[in-house]
Amino acid sequence: MSSSSFPRRRETGGLARWYRTTPDSQRRATGLAMALLVASLSASLFAGSAGAKEAQPESPDPVLEARMVRITSELRCLVCQNQTIADSHADLAVDLRREARELLSQGKSDQDVIDYMTARYGDFVLYRPPLKATTLLLWGGPALMLLIGAGVGIATIARRNRMTDEAFEPEDDEARERARA
């Protein structure tokens, strides 16, 4: 993977095709127009560079914005096919981000924003399921499965170790001994 650039989408030969198919007079006129355009562009660039500056963050309060994004990254966009409110372009998601921003700027806490959302849309809007009676099995499940799995594994080995040699396949050298016999 080189670090040289390549545009993600390449324009395939459009200019070459134009050059082949356009009559001379039209090409000259276009050339002149191009030259004028370049000249004015350069001028504006020059003027522009005088005004070029360090870009400003999109949001007036980046710290608040970061907080909002962090909170809404764990909230579900209800009108999308499985996307967070932070990432979705849907109208409702844009509105809810706006609401969240406003709540935070009023000094509300992260939990307040989450409560705001669940009061209106229920637990469905949370990507991190709340710990409730109905989700005990969800949150405890993996640990429980691990315990059961480990338990069964250990019990199985223990049971095997209690068995006599007849239950098992003989080791290779023993089998070859018997086969040769």
């Binding site: 209800l78 009108v79 109208d91 409702l92 509105d95 809810l96 609401e99 669940t118 009061a119 209106r120 849309y121 229920g122 637990d123 469905f124 809007v125």
Partner: protein, 176 residues
């Protein structure tokens, strides 16, 4: 007894299959409202037809009423609108509209073209009241009782079945 534990995988699978079979009939994207049985959110909005006139929560206490969320840009609303107009004529329950995230002129024109079943339509330009009601898709319909508590929410266009089997009996019960 030795064989019993070999049946465990099959048993787990059967349980899983039952869950999946039931799930086939569910809509994974339908969000039930947590506001059923809770007081309707407070609001004070201008009406669509007359910007000077405003309606607030207090104005609607004391009677059973229906809130229908609609917009001129909403395609599914066109489907349910004739039903709503006919239903309004029966006078079973006063219907108030919530014009959600719409342009005033577009909303007025839409009603003029298709009929106006609403006592009044609240004009919710930025959608904030809609969010307070937990609206996520238009159209949605709420039934609110005399104390201002939300008793029922229907998501999507209304159908004759919902009107006759759920809404009318509910309204009759609440009116008592």
């Amino acid at each position: 007894m030795k064989r019993a534990r070999f049946l465990v995988p099959l048993g787990i699978f059967v349980a899983l299959a039952i869950v999946l079979a039931i799930g086939l009939n569910r809509d994974p994207r339908e969000v039930p409202s947590p506001l059923i049985g809770k007081p309707a959110p407070a609001f004070a909005l201008p009406t669509l037809g007359n910007p000077e006139r405003a309606i607030a929560t207090a104005d609607l206490k004391g009677k059973v009423w229906m809130l229908n969320v609609w917009a001129s840009w909403c395609v599914a609303c066109r489907e349910e609108h004739p039903l709503l107009v006919a239903f309004a004529k029966r006078g079973t329950v006063p219907i108030y509209g919530l014009n959600y995230k719409d342009q005033r002129d577009d909303g007025i024109a839409w009603l003029a073209q298709r009929g106006d079943p609403y006592r009044a339509s609240l004009f919710d330009a930025d959608g904030r009241v809609g969010i307070d009601f937990g609206v996520y898709g238009v159209p949605e319909t709420f039934i609110i009782d005399k104390t201002g508590t939300i008793r029922f929410k229907h998501i999507g266009p209304l159908t004759p079945e919902v009107l006759t089997t759920v809404i009318e009996p509910l309204v009759r019960k609440l009116d008592v």
